[in-house]
């Protein structure tokens, strides 16, 4: 008898609470904020965590909540900071943004064993190769997330700065004159 009443009361309790939870889920549903979605689509989406948040979406939420500055994403650089500031209507102080030093991974052919581990973790499929073959990184597709570096058993993957060629060479900004009041 005791057993039966325990079963019945617990079942009832479960049903009632479940019902309440169901109602709560329906009526108290938190809409995903469209601005967060939009911000998230601006962010690189590689979930690299360099901003100090566990991923791009939490970073977007922090931005919307005003808990983060528009310059938070290091890989995005000033171009992204400008876009974020424009979207959120923020004042932007670009002096704090360091242009990210872009790095790409490169495989050293001498030590690659063709274990395919890097190939499996690369989020952008920037690594091509086959088992027991030397792998190679397609520099144009690599976003410098360093995931492959962590898994390579022979440390043959290393980050290198992007080669400067005539295609991506740019003029530098003229230096400000020494007497810095000379701003017109």
């Amino acid at each position: 008898m005791y057993v039966l009443s325990a079963i019945i009361s617990l079942t009832l309790l479960g049903l009632v609470l479940g019902f309440l939870l169901g109602i709560a889920a329906k009526y108290l549903k938190v809409e995903s904020s469209p601005i967060v979605d939009e911000l998230e689509s601006l962010l690189p989406g590689s979930q690299c965590g360099q901003c100090g948040f566990p991923g791009c979406r939490p970073a977007a939420e922090a931005l919307v909540a005003g808990k983060a500055a528009s310059t938070i994403c290091p890989p995005g650089g000033s171009a992204l900071a400008e876009q974020i500031a424009a979207l959120l209507g923020l004042e932007l102080d670009l002096s704090a943004v360091k242009e990210p030093e872009l790095l790409v991974a490169r495989v050293s052919e001498a030590t690659c064993t063709g274990c395919t581990r890097c190939f499996k973790v690369c989020p952008t499929d920037a690594i091509v190769g086959a088992p027991k073959q030397i792998h190679v990184v397609v520099a144009d597709a690599c976003i410098g997330c360093k995931k492959c570096i962590e898994v390579c058993p022979t440390e043959c993957l290393q980050m290198h700065p992007i080669d400067v060629t005539l295609r991506n060479w740019r003029w530098t900004k003229p230096a400000l004159p020494v007497a810095s009041n000379a701003v017109c």
Binding site: S41, P44, G45, S46, G76, G77, S78, A79, L80, E82, L94, P123, T124, D125, A126, D140, A141, I143, V164, T165, L166, N168, W169, R170, W171, T172, K173, P174, L176, P177, N181, A182, V183, C184
Partner: protein
């Protein structure tokens, strides 16, 4: 322009003429009409001064042309031991080499063929042996490596058998374009756009006026001037061939009025052809900018983002016309060009015809450049040319001049605060507000600079030239244009990255689903097997 005033001075007293001249140089009244030989009465022109100006902006830069413009083109340049021939000397895709290291080639032989729609082939500038195809420093401010063919000359300078055409006017227009394209001819004024593509565009858009640009408005340079003085007939022949190739009727050769001899020579050469008009235009930098020249000659404005051929005008350089003449009449590809070597550090300034790929160091030895005095080496003119870091770089199709300037010839770089004199605004040929753009670029507000018209800036350098405070305005615009391009690239890349990541995630999901399904199928198959086995056991 000065001539008009000289003529006027005969009619009115000196002081009045002077006052009038100053008055007419005020920005509001800056307006000129083509100068005619007969001279003109300035008062008749007055109504013009209130109409839309035909020249916008520009500066009167010091000429520095006399040292080279008075001597004949030097043609006995000693053949260098090695030539470094870049595969990309034009706008568009680089050419693709079809020779191997060790091949023997003759002068004019095809070394690399053009790739794709907008490209140009490269030919051997002399006979010799190919010793390398590799990366060497490019004639570019960064001197970064690009692919080059290295040709060791054999000193014989032996031509490949060429096929001269008896009467090129019997060729079809398409054939002319093809031959011009195969000769590797590109715009020799410095734009290096493949000429054949331009001829085709001209034919498709039914050009009514071909303008031949003999302005040569950059200081120091005089290679086009000399070419017009010495080879006027060939140039006019080239113009006629281009007209034929574009199925166009009339051409206007526009020459700045600081080159009276070139003007006379060209006029004489063009006399038999009434449809080729030779006119003088005022001397004013940047008169040779295509849009400025078109506005001046035809009165039409090329809309932003349009090509000039869309309004029925196309523009070619005199050097290009000369190259077309050689290519069509004699079947000779573009393998050499006339280069002005000048500047304060040059002991023997001259115009010299050199094979493409000649290193600057050889050119400088020949012209006796004093390296101690040389403060800056510039390829092209001093206003728009590129400053080069060293002399181990080759001359290319675009090289109209090489300048070795002394410290005294460089602009004072002692930057002072802007005094808001607006000189930069009145000289800007593109009608921009350089000071506003520079201010915004300084604080990294590139978007605002783009809104102010950064993309229409032609980097002519007038604003920097005129600025009394020595503000490096054009350097700001070059930096900003590069930065804007870089940001566009970065955005493009992040778009691509997102696509790659999404694709990968989809693939991973698909693989996981497949594996899951296979797993289920395996379990089902196992259950089925066991059931069958059980059934079998039951029956036995």
């Amino acid at each position: 322009m000065l001539k008009i005033y000289l003529n006027t001075a005969e009619l009115i007293p000196d002081g009045v003429a002077k006052a009038l001249k100053n008055f007419l140089y005020l920005p509001f009244f800056r307006s000129f009409t083509p100068y005619s030989e007969s001279g003109s009465d300035v008062f008749k022109r007055l109504p013009d001064f209130f109409s839309k100006p035909r020249i916008r902006g520009g500066v009167h830069a010091e000429q520095h042309k006399a040292a080279t413009a008075t001597q004949a083109i030097v043609t006995n340049f000693p053949l260098p031991k090695k030539l470094y021939i870049p595969l990309q000397q034009h706008v568009g895709k680089p050419a693709e080499p079809l020779i191997k290291v060790g091949d023997k080639v003759l002068k004019g032989q095809l070394l690399a063929y053009s790739q794709g729609m907008i490209s140009a082939p490269v030919h051997a500038p002399t006979s010799g042996i190919i010793v390398d195809v590799n990366d060497y420093p490019a004639p570019h401010p960064s001197a970064l490596p690009i692919r080059m063919i290295v040709l060791e000359t054999d000193g014989k300078d032996k031509w490949l058998a060429t096929k001269p055409v008896a009467d090129p006017f019997l060729l079809t227009a398409e054939d002319i374009s093809l031959r011009v394209g195969a000769a590797g001819i590109v715009g020799l004024g410095g734009a290096t756009f493949p000429t054949a593509v331009k001829l085709n565009m001209g034919r498709e858009n039914q050009i009514d006026t071909l303008i031949i640009n003999g302005a040569e408005c950059e200081p120091y340079l005089s290679c086009d001037d000399r070419l017009m003085q010495e080879r006027a007939e060939q140039i006019i022949d080239g113009v006629r061939l281009m007209l034929h190739g574009m199925e166009a009727e009339s051409a206007v050769v526009a020459i700045e009025d600081n080159k009276p001899q070139a003007y006379l020579a060209m006029q004489k050469a063009a006399e038999p052809y009434p449809l080729i008009k030779v006119i003088q235009i005022p001397t004013r930098y940047p008169m040779g900018w295509d849009r400025q020249l078109i506005r001046y000659v035809t009165g039409k404005e090329v809309p932003v983002g349009c090509r000039s051929s869309e309004i029925g005008v196309t523009i070619h350089n005199v050097g290009t016309a000369h190259a077309v003449h050689k290519a069509i009449r004699y079947g000779q590809p573009l393998v050499s060009r006339v280069v002005t070597v000048s500047g304060g550090a040059v002991a023997r300034p001259m115009n010299v015809e050199v094979p493409l790929g000649t290193l600057l160091s050889e050119l400088f030895d020949f012209c006796q450049v004093n390296p101690e005095q040389t403060a800056r080496i510039i390829m092209g003119g001093p206003m728009m040319g590129d400053s080069l870091p060293h002399t181990g770089l080759p001359t290319v199709k675009a090289t109209s001049g090489i300048l070795a300037l002394t410290l005294g010839e460089l602009k004072n770089t002692d930057e002072q605060p802007c005094i808001r004199c607006a000189s930069c605004i009145s000289v800007c040929p593109a009608g921009l507000r350089p000071l506003d753009m520079a201010n915004n670029i300084r604080i990294n507000q590139l978007d605002i600079a783009v809104d102010l018209g950064l993309k229409d800036c032609i980097s002519c350098g007038c604003c920097s030239y005129i600025c009394p405070s020595n503000i490096p305005l054009v350097q700001y615009f070059k930096y900003a244009s590069g930065e804007v391009a870089a940001r566009q690239q970065a955005q493009h890349k992040s778009g691509q990255t997102k696509r790659l990541i999404d694709d990968r995630n989809l693939r991973m999901e698909r693989i996981a689903r497949q594996q899951h399904e296979e797993e289920l199928a395996r379990i089902a198959a196992k259950a089925e097997r066991e059931r069958l086995k059980a059934a079998q056991e039951a029956t036995t």
